[in-house]
Amino acid sequence: MNKELVEKIKNDPNYKELVSKRNGFALKLSILMLAVYFIFILTIAFVPKVLGTPISPDSVTTIGIPVGMAVIIFAFVLTGIYTKRANGEFDDLNNKIKNSIKDKQ
């Protein structure tokens, strides 16, 4: 990639939009995942009894079971949300950038 091309892409509004939108989105989702996981693991470390509470008085199933399952499903859903937006909106922006420099490559 030559200097001229770097300058051109760097100043392309589509590129700026792509970078800020995607990295912002990726960062938000990462923080969300980390927050959910660390709340889960720190609850276990500090107050293990919370997740050991039965979901109803006559049941042996504890709150921990649906919460654990929910963390797994949450992780999967997050990857789905990101992939959908990135393969649509972000790739469209990216294609605009690629088309604008087609003659220069």
């Binding site: 660390f38 889960f40 276990i44 079971i65 654990g68």
Partner: protein
């Protein structure tokens, strides 16, 4: 080459078949269906290897299967790499022993995946060619950074291989009645065949087939267990607690204090994002779009698999625990309690017999064997690419090497790694190797991950910072683990550990990031300035994929 290949296949099958047949006479009959299914798997996958060998013509084909794997296929292969025999048998065994703690453990293994997708997958695909060292050294000095990244890769791969080989020897010994050494040699030879002849294409398809078989088998077991309880988790748990007590439904002693909890989380999350055999898979797809899909599917398969292992662990509690058929009477006579044959890691294997009889036990045993083969093949290929692509082609020959020679070197490296794995597997048979996988994750998290992620996102990273930081991360992970209770007390027999926590990652990862940061910002050399200036072009390529490696033309 093809003739040599066919000869080797026939030889291997003949040796294996004659040994198991002669061994079969004295052993229990339950192994017959396992052996038939295993031979079917081996001949099928060797057929694939033969097909792949004909398509593997260049170094690119060898390392990345030509870059033409789809997102779905790659997702399955990544999931396959992650669903090792250790995680299938180990996590279901942990659930069987401790109930809820097994779920905590598997969640830790899963949550790294979204982070890999959001931060690593696309830049990795856009910047790299064959190995993650391509990305780490993209704008830094090749020789030192590649040497470091390759050392981190090889250390991770070899440690992981030792754990897999020892585990496989013991498992196969138990399931098929084969001698330990024989089992280790068999795994080593088959793995060399897959990788040397079929490269990444064969390794990927072996992994996909195995992942499919493992998910099908585990699904069947979970459904059979649930059907027994009219698909009510409540009655399954109620019955399980009657046998094992109410504490299996709550968090137990797995994470005892906050520091250990966070440290384990750091090791699992960042370690996953630094495993060379996983990172390598992102180069097998055509572009960033397929790389994203790979992680999406992989996360789905892995999450589903962990839910299955949780049900399987509880299924084993209700159907295997205290079942006289699976009781280890000799062990019970000494230790008391209700130990099962082969230890708690065999819980899933016994459950397969309880729900599906000898035939299904054979199927699951064969799948467990196939799992080992597929995982060690991926590991070996990752190690071989670090040796041939990073150390030989880039460091030693400074890139002045043709694709055929590079491929030849990686095949030699594969054979050498295979032999090393066999020797280590035999040498470590009676050693306590519980710490080995933990060490592999700690090194991946402390040496590989910080350099990789900083090289992608941090403009100011310099060669000096990366080399010192990566070396500090690697050595602190190793030293802290030696001083921790896992090695200092359990293996070396000292009374108290010098480093009090079982997982060093929180400290070693922090050390790696801080030293990398410090030695980068204080680097005022001209080289450092050039490296920082080169960031812009690298960042554009990582974000847009302009100039990235495409799929090969054929």
């Amino acid at each position: 080459m093809n003739r040599a290949f066919i000869f080797l296949i026939i030889g291997t099958i003949a040796v294996f078949a004659s040994d198991v047949i002669s061994g079969e006479v004295q052993k229990q009959s339950l192994n017959l269906s396992a052996i038939v299914m295993f031979l079917l798997f081996v001949s099928g996958t060797l057929g694939i290897t033969y097909w792949a060998a004909k398509k593997t013509k260049s170094a690119k084909d060898f390392y990345t299967a030509g870059g033409g794997i789809t997102g779905f296929q790659n997702g399955m292969a990544i999931a396959g790499d992650y669903m090792s025999a250790a995680s299938f048998l180990g996590i279901s065994g942990l659930v069987y022993m401790k109930g809820y703690d097994g779920l905590i453990y598997s969640i830790g293994f899963l949550v790294g995946w979204p982070i890999i997708l959001f931060l690593i997958a696309e830049p990795l695909r856009n910047l790299g060619k064959y190995t993650f060292a391509d990305v780490a050294s993209y704008r830094l000095r090749q020789t030192p950074v590649r040497t470091l990244a390759a050392s981190g890769s090889i250390a991770t791969v070899v440690l992981y291989l030792i754990a897999q080989m020892v585990g496989s020897g013991k498992l196969i010994q138990l399931l098929f009645g084969l001698q330990y050494e024989m089992a280790v040699v068999l795994v080593g030879v088959l793995m060399i065949l897959y990788v040397v002849f079929g490269g990444m294409l064969a390794t990927t398809w072996v992994q996909i087939i195995k992942a499919f078989l493992l998910l099908s088998g585990a699904s069947f077991m979970a459904i059979a267990v649930m059907a027994h309880y009219d698909f009510s988790f409540g009655s399954l748990f109620a019955h399980a607690t009657e046998l094992k007590g109410i504490e299996i439904m709550s968090p137990g002693g797995l994470v005892s204090d906050p520091i250990s909890a966070i440290s384990l989380a750091v090791a699992l999350m960042f370690g996953t994002a630094g495993l060379p055999h996983i990172l390598m898979r992102f180069f097998t797809v055509s572009d960033a779009k397929e790389a994203r899909k790979s992680v999406f599917y992989a996360t789905g398969f892995i999450g589903y698999f962990y839910i299955l292992t949780f049900i399987i662990g509880f299924g084993a509690i209700v159907m295997v625990f205290q079942n006289p058929e699976y009781l280890d009477l000799a062990k019970q006579a000494i230790d008391g309690g209700s130990p099962i044959l082969g230890g708690s890691n065999m819980a899933a294997i016994h459950l397969s017999h309880a729900v599906g009889g000898d035939f299904f036990l054979g199927f699951i045993s064969a799948v467990a064997f196939a799992t080992i083969l597929a995982v060690v093949s991926g590991l070996t290929l990752a190690g071989a690419s670090a040796i041939s692509h990073d150390l030989y082609a880039s460091v030693l020959r400074k890139g002045r090497v043709d694709s055929m020679t590079e491929m030849k070197v990686s095949k030699i490296a594969t054979v050498v790694l295979g032999i090393v794995a066999i020797i280590m597997g035999i040498a470590f048979e009676n050693q306590n190797i519980a710490f080995v996988v933990g060490l592999a994750f700690a090194i991946a998290a402390s040496a590989n991950f910080p350099i990789l992620v900083l090289s992608m996102y941090w403009r100011k990273l310099t060669t000096r910072g990366a080399v010192i930081g990566g070396t500090m991360g690697l050595s602190s992970a190793v030293i802290l683990l030696i001083l921790s209770p896992v090695v200092w007390v359990s293996i070396l027999g000292n009374k108290t550990a010098i480093f009090p926590y079982e997982y060093p990652a929180l400290f070693s990862v922090t050390i790696a990031f801080i030293t990398t940061w410090f030695f980068s910002i204080t680097d005022n050399s001209q080289g450092a300035k050039d490296e920082q200036e080169a960031f812009e072009a690298q960042f554009i390529r990582s974000q847009t994929g302009i100039g990235a490696e495409g799929a090969s033309s054929h």
